[in-house]
């Protein structure tokens, strides 16, 4: 009657890892990227084209950026999926799940393309 679900551990695992990355790294990046310059804590040229291009030239920084952007996408996908359930969504669950996780998968591809295909 009950059967163990073989797919869920993967998505929960990704949600957890994404949650750790988001918890440790996202707040400081929001502050540095969005607020530090306008409030004068950071010189405006810290985010300049030349400096950012040089940073992104380092292969290790590309890996860091990949982790920073992609893993929180899986965290959000999982949380959005279950929040939809918690808001009472009962119909079209498989489609909603596919949209959430599909979005994260597409995001993974896009990030990889930007970091290693374009830059």
């Amino acid at each position: 009657m009950y059967k163990m679900d073989k797919g869920e551990p993967f998505w929960w695992g990704m949600f957890s890892v994404g949650g750790v990355v988001a918890a440790l790294l996202v707040p400081v990046h929001i502050f540095l990227d969005g607020l530090a310059v306008p409030i004068g804590l950071l010189r405006a040229d810290a985010l300049s084209y030349e400096r950012m291009l040089a940073l992104v030239g380092h292969p290790l920084f590309k890996v860091y950026l990949f982790v920073l952007v992609v893993l929180p996408l899986y965290h959000a996908a999982h949380r959005i999926r279950f929040s939809l359930y918690d808001l009472g969504v009962k119909e079209f669950r498989i489609s909603m799940d596919a949209l959430c996780y599909g979005g994260a998968l597409v995001g993974t591809g896009v990030v990889a393309y930007v970091l290693w295909g374009l830059l």
Binding site: W12, Y85, D86
Partner: protein, 249 residues
Amino acid sequence: MGEKKTITLTVTRYRPEQEEAPTEQSYEIEFRDDWVVLDALNHIKDRVDGTLSFRWSCRMGVCGSCGMMVNGVPKLTCAAFLRDYYPGEVRVEPLVNFPILRDLVVDIDDFMRKLKAVKPWVVRREEKPVEEGEYLQTPDQLAEYKQFSMCINCLLCYAACPVYGLEPEFIGPAAIALAHRYNLDSRDEGREERKQVIASSAGIWECTFVGECTEVCPKDVDPAAAIQRSKVATTTDWVKSILWPWGKR
């Protein structure tokens, strides 16, 4: 001596033989400083209105029978003191997320089925024959699962859990906490069997860690922790099965 203090209890009534939907009835009774809500209900039943139906037994917080909503919060009525609500009104309703059978009595068959499904007993591949003696357990081994063994099946956690309210097939906090209790028991060998139940789509994966189950638990079982640890254990098993599939479980 001064005028008698009173307190009003507004209680859900449901008499299916005479009404379609639940109604309310208010009783103004004498307020006594040392009474709990259960005392008030028993006073009403004994002296005011004998038709009021509700479950209770030990009146000391160990049997799990008297769980009800008191001012919107799931509580054991034998542990909810009137003086904490006085002089305000005390609203007593049946535990939410369960169908109402009559007045304050709810149908808990769903939980009983789920509890049985998780096999809350020591499962052995082969039972030790009596002549070989008892199963021995050290105090440290007992400490591993003791907290989760304190569950009195009062179902306050099911009333607090919004997921159980939204998804009736959810196995629920107490049943999963008890499965976890046996999985942690050194005498038990039933983890794989229980995994089919608790790691199914109706099990741990439905939980979104709201955490209210742990907040309302009168015995500090912490079912939320049990569920999250089961998620970690199941995911770890899954990773191990991918990385070294030949390993023994």
